[in-house]
């Protein structure tokens, strides 16, 4: 897999020379780096603990001394909790996409290259899994194996790999018949080497573009499941979980739902801008 990624990354780099600077991409990268930095350096950016409760400071309004995003029903600083949540939400977003990407690319490559019964089995599985609406299958899996972060990854992997398998299989079908692939096979190279070294690097860019959009979808799905009580559990600071608890205090504490949501939107917009930028570059590269 490594050479394929390196080649695809090189493709992104070579695109840069021809397209020049994309201001939206730069804004996206800047925004994402700021958010990631806020997550990494959270202990330096806030003196409070995200979980420790402080019953003398319940539901303080934003702008209160020392709590410029206010505090929640347990007196926890909302800003602090949002910062620590960056760690968990972004990690789930990226890791939660990596596993489906790996499974989908592998199975899609097998289906598109070897065809026959392998293709039939993989594509039938894809058809069945995609028949279920995304949230329904996620909730169904979590209902069976129970809500936890590990199980969230399992649910995301089972439901998420199908899009990558479809994309890669489609590319493989087109590329496997090209002359250079026939030549590589004619030279007596093994199937594994032909697929990994010669086909995948040229087949992977749509999957990379989709993965960028998928990170946003995964972050939204994680927040939604946590909001429903089926994802990250209290008292861990997680945006969806914070909004779930905040909705109970909607009448007198608007900031409890608004602020974590703004963090989600900022993260999502930054990743979307980066995704669009990469998509534009890969199009130029090809």
């Amino acid at each position: 897999m490594a050479p394929g990624f390196a080649r695809a990354a090189g493709w992104v780099r070579s695109g840069r020379r021809t397209t020049g600077r994309n201001p939206l991409l730069i804004i996206g990268v800047g925004l994402l780096l700021t958010i990631v930095g806020m997550g990494i350096f959270a202990p330096l950016l806030t003196p409070y603990d995200p979980i420790a409760q402080s019953f003398r400071e319940l539901l303080l309004k934003p702008g209160s001394p020392g709590h410029f995003f206010g505090t929640d029903q347990f007196g926890r600083d909302v800003y602090t909790r949002c910062l620590y949540a960056i760690r968990i939400n972004l990690v789930i977003g990226f890791v939660g996409v990596f596993l489906p990407f790996l499974i989908g690319v592998t199975l899609g490559a097998i289906a598109g290259y070897f065809r026959g019964w392998a293709e039939t089995i993989v594509m039938r599985m894809v058809d069945v899994i995609t028949a279920f609406p995304a949230y329904v299958i996620l909730i169904g899996i979590v209902a069976v194996i129970g809500p936890s972060i590990t199980n969230l990854f399992i649910a995301l992997a089972i439901s998420g790999w199908t899009a990558y398998a479809r994309l890669i299989r489609g590319e493989m079908l087109a590329i496997r018949e090209l002359e250079y692939v026939v030549a590589a096979r004619g030279l007596g190279l093994g199937d594994r080497r032909v697929v990994i070294r010669h086909i995948l690097p040229n087949a992977i860019s749509p999957a990379i573009v989709f993965a960028m959009a998928d990170i946003v979808l995964t972050i939204l799905a994680t927040a939604s499941l946590s909001y429903l009580g089926l994802g990250v559990q209290a008292p861990t600071a997680e945006w969806g979980q914070m909004i779930k608890e905040g909705q109970l205090y909607l009448l007198n504490a608007w900031w409890l739902v608004t602020i974590p949501g703004l963090f989600i939107v900022a993260t999502g917009v930054s990743l979307s801008l980066i995704g669009d930028g990469i998509a534009a570059r890969l199009r130029v590269g090809s």
Binding site: V128, A131, V136, L220, L228, L273
Partner: protein
């Protein structure tokens, strides 16, 4: 390929998917780690009650027998009995799913009302200010969690301006439309974003096409050209976008129904997960999938009528 053979072929593609859905929901309860009966009734349940629940769920038979019984029951419309209420799953599900379908149809209508004029403006003045703003709103909407938009709408329009009820379902049709306006609007925003993008692009392609140039050269007015030659042709690719999105929309109502406390199938699904009512969970998961598959099928068939050239 003519239409009839296309339809037959499309129906044949459905069969393995439906079999897969049935197999997947069959294994749903059987994939519960440990003994499902213990998971449902708790560690302190008596051996007799565990045994009777296993019998009720059909878990005391060999697996192939269980599957045969399961499939047989599905064909007679029996999806088992709800553990929490003791009523047949199908009777619990159907009224709730009617609420959800009402919400989905309402969202699709709202989304169309939002999308059609905006897509038209964006295409006619492509690259203009409105087009740019619509594109920016699309990017931001896609990054917003639907449950959060719902809560923000409640905060601003229900609590702040007191225009709409905070939650609930309503008793008669006008009341229901009023109660469900915010939830329908929430999902419609996503749907509209996607539909606008698709419609704008197909309108734009058509505006630059030769047959539209020919229609104009005949001296037809712009509005006649738009109605006769762009609107109808531009709508058909959007139908498939709408269908794919509606499949997704049905799933997202699970979250929206929780935000607005709507007694739909999604709320039932979440409640059943917390009650460990596995017969209801697997029944609902199956029903959602069957509905999504049906919508996609209907959309494909509509597509062949709107665009007779289509062949797959």
């Amino acid at each position: 390929m003519d239409r009839t053979s296309f339809i037959i072929r499309r129906l044949r593609q459905i069969v393995p998917v439906v079999i897969g859905i049935v197999v997947a929901t069959f294994f749903l309860i059987r994939a519960v780690p440990g003994d499902p009966a213990v998971v449902i009734l708790g560690e302190r349940a008596t051996p007799e009650s565990l045994a009777s629940l296993r019998t009720a769920l059909g878990l005391d038979q060999p697996l192939p027998v269980q599957f045969a019984v399961y499939v047989g029951r599905i064909f007679s419309g029996d999806l088992g009995t709800s553990i929490s209420s003791g009523t047949p799953v199908i009777d619990v599900m159907i009224p709730r799913m009617q609420v959800t379908i009402f919400l989905v149809v309402y969202s699709v209508v709202l989304a169309s009302i939002i999308a059609l004029p905006l897509a038209t403006i964006a295409a006619l003045r492509s690259g203009g200010l409105v087009d740019q703003v619509i594109r920016a709103i699309f990017t931001v909407t896609m990054a917003m969690p639907s449950f959060w938009i719902g809560i923000i709408l409640i905060l601003v329009l229900s609590i702040g301006l007191k225009l709409f009820p905070v939650s609930g379902y309503g008793d008669n049709l006008p009341d229901r439309l009023w109660h469900l306006f915010l939830p329908a609007l929430t999902t419609a925003l996503y749907l509209a974003s996607m539909v606008i993008r698709s419609l704008r692009n197909s309108f734009l392609d058509l505006l630059n096409s030769e047959h539209v140039a020919f229609a104009r050269s005949q001296g037809l007015t712009e509005s006649t050209v738009f109605r006769r030659h762009i609107l109808r042709n531009g709508l058909s690719p959007t139908i498939s976008v709408l269908a794919i999105t509606t499949g997704w929309l049905i799933g997202s109502t699970v979250v929206i129904e929780t935000v607005f406390s709507i007694p739909g199938a999604g709320r039932l699904l979440i409640d059943s997960v917390f009650r460990r009512d596995y017969p209801v969970i697997s029944g609902l998961v199956m029903l959602y999938a069957i509905i999504a598959v049906t919508i996609n099928l209907v959309a494909d068939l509509m597509y062949t009528y709107l665009d007779p050239r289509v062949s797959l």
